[in-house]
């Protein structure tokens, strides 16, 4: 099913068709991220739920073992949502949550730029905390120099948490 057909189905007035579409979100590519993110804040709660539920399915499928390029492409598209003030804060925050699950370490410098924003600093910190590899550690440490002092304890919390569980290499680095 091409993207246009898919988007029609996920906006269907029939809850069953919307449901079927969100469950099959794995069949779409990263170009579905932006339109789904738009629909995720639809005033129609049913459509918003379907789009909100489709995004994680799309993201998690992209990060399945062996699909590293897909994960990188998907994380990059999700990051565009997080970076854009065109989307509601909850959608941007949800994007960062998914980014933390699937992003390769290469995207960390871009994610780290959100540490400079008042509104998404905390969500960006939590996303980076989850991404294995030195770039994340460096970004969190660099944040100690570039963020308000009141945020430093949050960054130190992430650095501490990363020491609790041995993190494996990032998605990209694990190849």
């Amino acid at each position: 099913m091409n993207l246009n057909e898919y988007l029609i189905r996920i906006q269907s007035p029939d809850a069953g068709i919307r449901y079927s579409a969100w469950k099959s979100a794995w069949s779409q590519k990263s170009d579905a991220v932006a339109p789904l993110a738009k629909l995720a804040s639809s005033p129609d709660k049913g459509i918003a739920k379907a789009a909100n539920a489709a995004l994680p399915i799309l993201a998690h499928h992209s990060a399945r073992p062996g699909a590293y390029e897909e994960a990188e492409s998907m994380a990059s598209e999700l990051l565009k949502i997080a970076e854009s003030s065109d989307y509601p804060m909850l959608i941007r925050a949800q994007s960062l949550n998914l980014i933390g699950c699937i992003s390769p370490a290469q995207l960390v410098p871009r994610i780290a730029k959100l540490l400079a924003t008042d509104e998404l600093r905390e969500e960006a910190r939590m996303a980076i905390e989850r991404i294995p590899g030195n770039p994340s550690t460096h970004a969190l440490k660099a944040g100690l120099r570039s963020t308000p002092e009141s945020f430093h304890k949050n960054l130190q919390q992430s650095l501490h948490n990363r020491s609790l569980t041995p993190l494996t290499a990032g998605v990209k680095n694990a190849r």
């Binding site: 998690h60 905390e129 609790l164 990032g170």
Partner: protein
Amino acid sequence: MSEQKSISRREFIKSTSITTAIVGMPTVIPSGVISMPGRIAPNDRIIYAHIGVGGMGASHVVPDAAALCDVDSKRLAEIAKNVKGTPMLCKDYREILDRKDIDAVTIGTPDHWHAIMTVHACQAGKDVYSEKPTCRTIQEGQAMINAAQHNKRIVQIGAQGRSKKSHRAVCQYIRNGQIGKVNHVEVWHENNWTGGWGTETTPPENLDWDMWIGPARWRPYNTDYAPFNFRWVMDFGGGFIRDRGNHVLSIVMWAMNSDHTGPVSVEATGDPQKEGLWDTPVTMDVKWEFKNPDWTLTWSQPGPKHTFPGSDEALPWGAQYYGDRGTLIQSGGDGYGDTEKKALEYEPPADGYHPYLDPSPVEDATERHRENWRRCIRTREKTIMPIETGHRVITLAVIANISYLLGRKLNWHPVHERFIADEEANRMIAQPYRAPYHF
């Protein structure tokens, strides 16, 4: 507990004019127990405080509690009426942990608070009774174990099925080979709840919503999140598999002698509700595979709803054990439920396996479970449901939910507690906490 603390406790008791016949927890005090660091002397009263006093949390409140904590001030005031004197009332659990005179705390909060509160309580030198489910993530369970062991704390997880005679009978029957080698255990449960959209609105004045969310990811208040319905939200509750699953799977792991290990794979599927606020799957099917010995555990919602032999009453939840010489049904898994007559009447030989049951004379399993905790606070022995076991049991539900969310079968290393060859799944072993909450 330090010597200093024991003296403080005695002084505290004197200051409150409570000398003999202390109202509170009548426990059997082993002879020879003396006050020393980490132990409570036989004549000392255990000072309790309660964190989270709604639902099951309310059932733990003792009449002479020193302090009560809840983020809902209305509920807090209501429960305080059941306590003598003037207990400290607060909405921040850290105020309770700062009190040096408090020995032990119960935690009856929503699930996403259990781990961090248990860890902090252990670090503060308190013994802990924490409600099920044990925790939300693998890392949380590991942190709870570390905190309990490092600080030599007594922790009981509120999976009180381990203190119920009929569930003990299941364990005894299976472990003594009465149905032969068990190759499959089938757990069934009614569906997760469905609901509407609730109302996204300003939280009621009596509820501190930010504190209610605590370490979880922030989201706006909705009338259909709290109380109780957080169970149907993945970020908070995780559905029946993590809720009552902690009960029924606890009995299965006990009966299958698997408290020390875990499965090697998990595969979960489910169907969430098409409309409405909640995101847990309404129906769910899970399959875990165990090795050495080889057996399979399944979870089905709604599942087949078995009946006891000779009865046509469908049991709403439970487990059926399939052995090469017979079967056995267990209904429920918490403080209620039952099993077949053959298991209830079975007496193992003297050299057979006799599962421990706390000797408390009370019949109610939940109260016996609490009595076991109180006894262990004094003896410093392991509880019937220690954190190590609680972690192993809830691991089943935690990794099942990860498999469901990721939409794929996962291979699990029960010793290393890591997924095999799945980077994303391994990232979900931990979940970042919202500041300022951390272990």
